[in-house]
Amino acid sequence: MTQSHSFTQTSPARPARFRLDREGWISLSLLLILAVGASVAYLAGENFFVNLASRMVIIALAGVGLNLALGFGGMVSFGHAAYFGLGGYVAGIGAFHAFDMTPALGIPFLPNGSDQMIPLWLTAIALCGLLAYGIGRLSLGTSGVYFIMITLAFAQMIYYFAISWPTYGGEDGLPIYIRNQLWGLNTNNSLVFFFLCFGLLLAALSFCHRLLGSRFGAALTMARLNPVRLATSGVEPRPIKLVAFVISGMITGLAGALFADLNGFVGTSMLDWHRSGEIMVIVILGGVGRLYGPVAGAMLFVAMEFWLGGLTEYWQFFLGLVLLAVVLFARGGVFGLLAGRSRHE
């Protein structure tokens, strides 16, 4: 067994000098490729590619959220589109009412809608946390395939709810005419928006890194590897998993809010179960339970969607082939292939 990587593994206490192992170098390279790529594209006047990079970053962020539940907590949620979509609708509905200058949700005593990103993000995070708490509370009594199905069922309920609510476009979705604002920044500038998303992705990655190395992370790891051992050690596994599930939903919800602003549109496609599958696919492609796995997965996914999607409308057939190859031959995903097995597996 190789011992070349993984930051949560114990080894004799060392002073906190910063040294990168192989996984660290790959992670850093991915981030650099995104940041430099987007900047170069911007300077070349290729806004399309800047937006493509933003798309990668946002989907990576959604994956970072799911990975916390799926990869680190062992909770295979097939309903993360619920949080992605809810985050998107918060951004969309906020902008809608700000544009109309009407109270949020049309309820008189609520404040008017907002076109400011910070309150919209916070609202998205809070609502997604509440939703994940409710869904998690009810779903965590089950495990395995039942957990997959019950999370899917909850997400589908929300999907049909959105479809049948005509105020916000129902099946047609809801356009965001003017991208939401952040202080004095020109969020309409593609590179500014990219770096906003990029900064949030970095923040989420650092947060998760810290979280996973903490006592909570140790308990979550044990809840995944051996819940019986965790309980025998005196820690209830379920509340630990529930909190991880809630944080997971919050991060994916934030990604949803960004995604709606990127596209200037939010629709039921963000709540669709295909979306849940897509987020799961990018986590698996990148490497389940690898912190930067979703970054690699999202880059690969969006790149394939763009290049192969340009060649053939059946690009998902090739995506399927790649996924099959990953599942059969590289169970650690892109990261498993490049950086070797994680000691977490």
């Binding site: 206490a13 906190a16 909190v243």
Partner: protein, 253 residues
């Protein structure tokens, strides 16, 4: 109430027609190793599950150091001071030995909802874990993933994990199972040194180990305690000889 550390009182469990635990009462006193023996199918595992909290009894009560355990979950019982090991070792294979033990230290120190400070450099977690590992003669294996340990070493890690809880009682479920003579001898020696630290309820098949270690023995047959007393009493009890030991064993012992 009495001064027993662990007091099992009139425990009953039925599965349909099978009366798996029949009015079982056992007291484990401070400073003793109390062995529970019984032939296969006597209901030992069912009894352990009820003590550990994975199986609710139909009736009866459990007291640990004067506290009722009846309404407590597995994790709450562990925090109350019930340290246990499993018949089939149950550890996180991919984590290091120390990380497995640190989990119990962490639980002992309070809430696991602490999200910021890294555990790896946390001396308040590492040092107690390392001390227990040294006591269980595992100091040199602290950084080794459990998956690379021998069967005997895993047994020791299990006991170390239970000890790290600073338990009021240790519940050891066949710790010698699957060990060779050498491993059994080593673990026996380690357990002997432990009994001054914490009383032990020892469920064990290995008769030599039981007679060497146990201060008192309870014999479970068909869900019922048919005898209890010190080794000599048990050896010479005709019911036990008939039900469990067999005459030839009694003669040779």
């Amino acid at each position: 109430m009495n001064e027993a550390v662990l007091s099992i009182q009139n425990l009953n469990k039925r599965f349909g027609a099978l009366h798996a635990t029949k009015d079982v009462s056992i007291n484990v006193m401070p400073g003793e190793i109390h062995a529970l023996i019984g032939p296969n199918g006597a209901g030992k595992s069912t009894l352990i599950a009820q003590i550990a909290g994975t199986l609710p009894p139909d009736s009866g009560t459990l007291w640990l150091d004067g506290q009722s355990l009846d309404a407590l979950s597995v994790a709450e019982r562990a925090r109350q001071g019930l340290g246990r090991s499993f018949q089939v070792s149950s550890l996180a294979e991919s984590l290091s030995v120390r990380r497995n033990v640190m989990m119990a230290v962490q639980a002992l120190q309070g809430s696991s909802f602490r999200f910021w400070k890294p555990v790896n450099s946390d001396a308040s977690l590492r040092e107690p874990a390392d001390a227990v590992l040294a006591q269980m003669d595992l100091g040199h294996r602290a950084d080794t993933p459990v998956a690379e340990l021998s069967h005997g070493e895993r047994r020791q890690v299990e006991v170390a994990c239970a000890l790290a809880l600073k338990p009021k009682i240790l519940l050891l479920d066949e710790p010698m199972a699957g060990l060779g003579p050498e491993g059994t001898a080593k673990l026996t020696t380690l357990l002997e040194t432990l009994k001054h630290q914490v009383p032990i309820l020892l469920i064990e098949h290995d008769m030599d180990a039981v007679f060497r270690l146990a201060d008192r023995i309870s014999v479970l047959v068909a869900g019922q305690v048919i005898a209890h007393g010190d080794s000599d009493t048990i050896r010479n009890d005709p019911n036990v000889r008939e039900a469990y030991l067999g005459d030839d064993h009694a003669e040779s012992a």
